[in-house]
Amino acid sequence: MFSLLRSMWLVFLHMFHKRDTYQYPEQKAPLPARWRGRIALTRDPDGEERCVGCYLCAAACPVDCISLQATEDEHGRRYPEFFRINFSRCIFCGFCEEACPTYAIQLLPDFEMAEYNRQNLVYEKHDLLIPSQGKYPGYNYYKVAGLAIKNKDKGEAEHEEPPVDIKSLLP
């Protein structure tokens, strides 16, 4: 009898507690920064696409829902010609983000992707690309890679010596 009354008392006290329930959708839940939600393609500090079309995300994807085609601009910079994620298959495991060598593909704290039509869950590059560096500001893959691109010649990347003069015999 006592325990019954105690339980009722405790329930009664909860009326004065702070509420745990969020009044979604009017009220949004705070999500941690590393929440694995919607996938986006980020840009490097210069505002260029970070994705170099290396296909590692596609290979890592356990449900094979990423497909892309790499191509090159006239200066040798690689970028994806198309980049498609079929979110109706995506399981938000984050393997693609782990596999990405350029921090291009990132999972963002956003899960509001419901659609009435499944076809609308197929995201193309223009749907995925965001004008932001995402979680990893400051990283620029081409600054560490050996490839020459526009405005970065051979030997101008970080930790690179100027190109070898192959005609020199100096030690």
């Binding site: 290396c54 290979a59 499944r118 890679a145 050996g146 051979k154 930790h159 190109p163 070898v164 020199s168």
Partner: protein, 897 residues
């Protein structure tokens, strides 16, 4: 056989090998870079270190390079010794100090030997944090991309390019830690085998530039075993597809045919498959009163087929299957071989000589093992490029054998053996109408007319065997040449005689056979090799049919009205005027082909045929080896195999035999049953119901990506994957993951070995045959028991005729082949039409280089710009054949100027 103890386990290994080869042959994982099974060892990279112990009591041992140590009986070594493992890890670490952070943007990534070896040694994190050396790259032409920063200085590229393939324009420059592998200046790599650098280079310094245009990782390719369509040698290739287009051709090791290498025409000539000129849907030209619109296309074809008035024209670039079905459909007496008169006569003769003569035809690898070579009337580099590569190896054979017996070095000690051999060459004699690229390695090269070549060869046969007829009226030069050749051939144990279509002369073919037979009679293990122009020239001739000229006659005299043309551009077979006349007289022209060409423009109905990438089929190469190519991709549109179109047509027409062939395997069995010469053609690959552990063999690797996204833009519900009812392969990544039978290996991959070097795991021993034997089946074996009927009819010497020139065909690796020129890079390297003259003839006709020379042929006038070459026989004129816009179809022939 010696027994060696590796990590205290005894293994039986083959004598004469080095430890690295022995370990790899045993299936052990030992990292290496500079060693290559075809190039031997130089011990440059220090990667394959193992610990060798003196005896059982020795516990310290010493580190040695496995590739430099010969196998000795009772030897004790350790691969997994901690010191050896640490040493190998450090070596990779040093090699990687200057290697850029490039894998994500490197075309080699995913099929990179350096990646594999780095992972294998456990050097997964960079210890080096200082600055890296950089280089400027060169533009190496349309085939090869250069990214010198990635180099690890293994020297494989120059060893292949200079030492193996005889190239001159790739070398190593600069000094100490600045060495640079490239050309003296920017420019196209000239060697015909430059594409192999892509596979030889263990990392991404040299990569495939055509792949770069539509880049795909190895793990994303749908691949199938295929056969190169570029010439008659039938090199084995792996063709890879992604998103519906063909992306890359890589070498498919075949220990009897192409080994580890391909020529550039074979590697890069694939882009016709993706060409915008492809025929994707059937095309029907309707007559104005034709109310039949809307019928299925095969109904149209049937409606236009008049019984008794229909003929079929086969093709040397279509499979045996397609030609067979066409022959059955139109009947034996209405089936014409779609090849020119001269070509037909030559191949018929070659086939007869190989079947009835006592000397066997040489495979490419047997040719590379010859110790004396005579080439009669062939410019091999341009007519059968991989054969030229074999000849380059054969030339080294004798000096290498001498050197090994003198200095007691095994043949794989590449640097030492090269030092001992210096510039010594084995006997190679080339008789051709004009200089050839192989002349540089020849003991003797003679440039004279085809008839004179035959005369010299007959004279050599006489010198070898006095009972054979003597050649009278020889010039002193000719006598001298014959004597030199005969003297060199007398000591040879495995001499090889090569002739073929390039010379365009039956006399030369006969003389070549005579010479090989004479050598055989002298007790040598002689070999004979004939080159043929197209991938299935030999198969078509074995199937047999009437000559193309009779088809023209039949149409012109009205006995035939409907012509069914199988994958053939008759404008390349007949001269422009005859072809126009022929099509003008045809009532109905039905063409099956994959690319639009002048013939399809004359057609009333065009059916879209599958290329080699979209079809299954069998080709017979110059050696008489039947090889199967399997479908790589399921085609877009209505494209299907020619034989399938024709089988369906046979079904609609009520052809009882064709109706009974329900499956691909039925078709193969029917061919084997009807033609004894094709016996065994149905067993080249396992049948369609072949399963391993109840599973098919997947065309896609287990890492294949994007299945649920690649077509999601069209429809988010994935379509059912294509099914392959014809072969034991599936179009998916599901299936048996182990090693498939050697004839249906879709790609080479082994755990830890993602690059092409994984072929080690598929071989009985490194550089040996594939497990279960090399694929393909030889259909032609020599008649060793019969009496050899030598030819005694010696042609008259060539005498220039006043006012005339003998047109001789000149071939070009880039340009003479019909399909490969649809690749932009190959088209770029194609020469412009020309006529080649000796300077004296040019003076005689009062023309200079660059002038137009007018000549008459069959009453029609042609004009071509003149090129002067003084190695050409006087009185002869060379014309490049097969180039687009060359309207002269037949050479050699005498023309009036």
């Amino acid at each position: 056989m010696p027994i060696i103890n590796i990590d205290n386990i005894p293994y039986e290994v083959k004598e004469g090998k080095n430890l690295l080869e022995a370990c790899l042959s045993l299936g052990l994982n030992l990292p290496y870079f500079c060693w290559h099974p075809a190039l031997g060892s130089v011990g440059a990279c220090r990667q394959c270190a193992v610990k060798i112990f003196k005896d059982e009591q020795d516990t310290r041992g010493k580190l040695m390079m496995a590739c430099m140590e010969p196998v000795k009986d009772g030897m004790r070594l350790s691969v997994n010794d901690s010191e050896a493992v640490a040493f190998r890890g450090h070596v990779i670490g040093w090699l990687m100090t200057n290697h850029p952070h490039d894998c994500a943007v490197c075309d080699e990534g995913g099929s990179c030997h350096l990646q594999d070896m780095t992972v294998m040694t456990g050097h997964a994190y960079r210890d080096y944090h200082f600055s890296k050396r950089t280089y400027r790259n060169q533009n190496l032409g349309p085939f090869i991309n250069h990214e010198m920063n990635r180099c690890i200085q293994c020297y494989r590229c120059v060893r292949f390019y200079k030492d193996f393939a005889g190239g001159k324009d790739l070398d190593v420059f600069a000094a100490h830690n600045h060495v640079y592998f490239g050309r003296q200046q920017d420019g196209t790599l000239e060697n015909e085998f430059s594409g192999n650098l892509v596979e030889v280079c263990p990392t991404g310094v040299f990569t495939d530039k055509t792949l770069k245009q539509h880049y795909t990782r190895k793990w994303d390719l749908t691949t199938a075993p295929s056969i190169c369509q570029g010439c008659g040698l039938g090199c084995n290739i792996i063709a890879g597809e992604r998103y519906g287009s063909l992306r890359q051709i890589t070498n498919r090791y075949n220990g009897a045919v192409n080994g580890y290498f391909l020529c550039d025409r074979g590697r890069y000539g694939y882009e016709f498959v993706n060409s915008k000129d492809r025929i994707r849907e059937p095309l029907v030209v309707h007559a104005p009163d034709d109310k039949a619109n809307g019928l299925p296309v095969l109904q149209h074809v049937r409606n236009r087929m008049k019984p008794g008035k229909m003929i079929g024209i086969g093709s040397p670039r279509a499979s045996v299957e397609s030609n067979y079905v066409l022959k059955e459909l139109v009947g034996e007496h209405n089936f014409y071989l779609g090849i020119g008169e001269i070509e037909h006569e030559l191949i018929r003769l070659m086939l007869k000589l190989l079947k009835e003569g006592p000397v066997r035809s040489a495979s490419l690898q047997e040719a590379a093992a010859a110790d004396a070579v005579v080439i009669l009337g062939e410019d091999l580099t341009n007519t059968a490029p991989m054969m030229a590569l074999s000849v380059r190896q054969a030339v080294r054979r004798m000096p290498v054998e001498n050197a090994i017996s003198n200095i007691h070095m095994p043949a794989w000690q590449d640097a030492a053996v090269r030092e001992a051999v210096q510039e010594n060459k084995g006997p190679l004699f080339i008789l051709n109408v004009v200089e050839t690229k192989l002349d540089e390695v020849a003991t003797g090269a003679y440039h004279t007319a085809p008839d004179n070549i035959a005369r010299i060869a007959f004279a050599v046969s006489h010198l070898l065997d006095g009972t054979l007829p003597e050649v009278t009226g020889m010039s002193d030069e000719g006598k001298q040449a014959a004597a030199t050749i005969a003297a060199a051939l007398r000591g040879a144990k495995r001499p090889l005689v090569i002739a073929g279509y390039g010379g365009g002369s039956e006399q030369v073919i006969r003389a070549a056979a005579n010479l090989a037979w004479a050598l055989k009679q002298q007790g040598a293990d002689a070999m004979l090799s004939f080159t043929v122009p197209e991938c299935n020239s030999m198969g078509l001739e074995m199937l047999g049919g009437l000559r193309l000229e009779s088809a023209v006659d039949a149409v012109l005299n009205g006995s035939a009205e409907t012509v069914l043309i199988l994958e053939n551009d008759l404008y390349r077979r007949l001269d422009l005027h005859t072809a126009n006349q022929f099509f003008g007289h045809c009532k109905e022209v039905i063409v099956l082909d994959h690319l639009h060409n002048p013939t399809t423009e004359r057609a009333n109905i065009v059916l879209p045929a599958g290329t080699f990438a979209e079809a299954d089929g069998t080709l017979v190469n110059n050696e008489g080896r039947a090889q199967r190519f399997l479908q790589v991709l399921s085609p877009q549109g209505s494209v299907q195999e020619s034989w399938r179109w024709l089988l369906q047509l046979g079904d609609i027409c009520g052809h009882t035999h064709l109706r009974s062939l329900l499956h691909y395997d039925d078709l193969l069995k029917a061919i084997a049953a009807k033609y004894p010469v094709f016996a065994g053609i149905d067993t080249i690959t396992p049948p369609a119901d072949f399963r391993i552990a109840g599973q098919k063999i997947p065309r896609e690797p287990h890492r294949y990506s994007g299945r649920t996204a690649m077509l999601a833009n069209i429809n988010v519900s994935e379509p059912k994957p294509a099914e392959d009812g014809d072969t034991a392969l599936s179009f998916t990544m599901e299936g048996y993951r182990g090693e498939p039978p050697s004839s249906v290996i879709p790609f080479f991959w082994a755990p830890g070995w993602n690059s092409v070097q994984s072929v080690n795991k598929y071989q009985v021993e490194t550089g040996g045959s594939l497990h279960g034997g090399n694929p393909g089946k030889r259909l032609l074996e020599p008649n060793v028991n019969g009496q050899t009927k030598f030819y005694t009819n010696i042609p008259d010497p060539f005498i220039p005729v006043g006012g005339h020139l003998l047109l001789v065909p000149l071939y070009h690796i880039f340009g003479s082949e019909e399909l490969s020129i649809h690749t932009p890079g190959i088209a770029q390297r194609m020469p412009a039409p020309y006529i080649m003259l000796h300077s004296e003839d040019a003076r005689r006709f009062q023309v200079a280089a660059g002038h137009l020379l007018y000549f008459m042929d069959n009453g029609h006038q042609y004009a071509l710009p003149v090129v002067i070459n003084d190695t050409l026989q006087k009185g002869a004129a060379g014309i490049p054949v097969g180039l687009p816009h060359m309207q002269v179809a037949e050479a050699p022939q005498l023309v009036k100027i």
